[in-house]
């Protein structure tokens, strides 16, 4: 753990407290704007009204919705990637009584505690988060409805506990496989990267985190990337892993700069 503070602003206490207040205000604004944590599936077309001035986005949304007409909005609080991935796994298991995915996922989670302690996580720190996710897994597939899992994710505390576990898995994988990631981390060590960019509860996931979590959970992810380029009509698609079996279950995400939502095919 580093003691180096990145609080460049903390030159005097008044300024520091102002800054903390500002951050709190931003958080409150986000919560006021996004009273939901995860919405019901809504028509992707609705998103067009937000980008009437942005032809590049607009034409890509129109193209995407030919095959993926619905999406769920996920709160913009820095945890959208982790939340979208985990929610989608639960939803798939419950909605389609997907026993195969349930077995795979519950095995990975059940073994994860050992993996986390192996990279230095304290048992007492992991337990509450592990217990929460195991509690939800044990309800699957028959003792909880899709609405039930939506409700669990919309409960702020439950949601935070579930997402925190995804962050731990991500951090744990990066630390255990630091040789894979060192080259991509611009400054500092893998440890410091995890401390600053993965472990804190509101840090957005970027490529490294996405690859790490996907590698750990072994469930393919497809990301439709919206950009303002008017010369292209198709959104760029990132598929992780690149050689995933096209017939497998995918977690489909819609990416706009700084944000992920969940996409649903026809």
């Amino acid at each position: 753990m580093s003691q180096q503070s990145s609080n460049q602003y903390a030159y005097d206490q008044e300024l520091y407290e102002q800054h903390i207040k500002q951050l709190d205000n931003i958080k409150n604004e986000i919560e006021a704007q996004d009273p939901f944590i995860i919405t019901q599936p809504i028509e992707l077309q609705i998103l067009e009204s937000e980008y009437l001035e942005n032809q590049g986005f607009l034409q890509k949304i129109q193209k995407i919705r030919e095959s993926y007409p619905y999406f769920r909005r996920v709160r913009r609080d820095g945890s959208c990637f982790y939340r979208a991935v985990l929610f989608r796994i639960f939803e798939q298991i419950i909605q389609f009584k997907d026993q195969q995915l349930l077995n795979k996922f519950s095995t990975i989670i059940a073994n994860s505690k050992t993996d986390l302690t192996a990279v230095g996580y304290e048992q007492i720190v992991i337990d509450d988060f592990y217990d929460e996710i195991m509690k939800q897994i044990k309800l699957c597939p028959n003792n909880i409805t899709v609405q039930g899992i939506v409700d669990a994710f919309c409960n702020k505390v439950t949601s935070d506990y579930l997402i925190m576990y995804m962050r731990m898995l991500t951090s744990g994988y990066i630390k255990a496989n630091s040789f894979l990631f060192e080259g991509y981390i611009e400054t500092g060590t893998v440890e410091l990267f995890c401390q600053q960019e993965v472990d804190p509860i509101d840090r957005e996931a970027d490529q490294i985190q996405i690859i790490a979590l996907q590698n750990y959970l072994q469930i393919p992810i497809r990301i439709f990337y919206l950009d303002g380029n008017v010369a292209t009509f198709d959104a760029t698609i990132f598929q992780i892993p690149e050689d995933a079996n096209p017939n497998s279950i995918f977690i489909n995400l819609l990416y706009r700069p700084g944000h992920y939502d969940i996409l649903y095919p026809k």
């Binding site: 003691q3 990145s6 602003y9 720190v125 509450d128 401390q195």
Partner: protein, 151 residues
């Protein structure tokens, strides 16, 4: 889930009792598990060696999703501690994560003593002396180490 934080703090306490930390001690007040008192011993073979610094840790029902408020009760001369005892430490603020427990918090604060970050000073006089006049800085630290025995 107000019980989450309390159950977690009980486990934090059990860990401290079983593993017996070097360099600090901590325990909650008898009547309130959300309020802890801690003592950090200045790291050996540093200018802080011999110092005994009392701290107060105030947890909320949101722990460990939110960090505790940690302040030095003993007067301390340090670049990253405000004169009222508040600590400027990333993991207690914008880099807080539920992965930290009482042990990790106190370990971090203890290593901050001899490894200050003068780039983000909470006490600008201490930071300035640390960067520009180490002899006076050492003297001031020595004074606060001595005063910590009387406290």
């Amino acid at each position: 889930m107000s019980t989450n934080s309390r159950m977690r703090l009980v486990r934090d306490l059990q860990k401290l009792k079983q593993m017996i930390p070097q360099g600090f001690q901590a325990a909650p007040f008898d009547d309130n598990i959300l309020l802890w008192e801690a003592v950090i011993f200045g790291p050996d073979q540093t200018i802080w060696d011999g110092g005994i610094f009392k701290l107060l840790l105030e947890f909320t029902e949101e722990y460990p999703l939110k960090p505790p408020n940690v302040i030095f009760k003993t007067k301390i001369f340090h670049p990253n501690v405000y004169t009222d005892g508040k600590i400027c430490l990333d993991i207690l603020q914008n880099q807080w994560s539920p992965i930290y427990d009482v042990w990790a918090i106190l370990t971090s604060i203890r290593s901050l003593l001899n490894d200050p970050n003068p780039d983000s000073p909470a006490n600008s006089e201490a930071a300035k002396l640390y960067l520009e006049d180490k002899i006076t800085y050492f003297k001031r630290v020595e004074e606060c180490v001595e005063e910590s025995w009387i406290d």
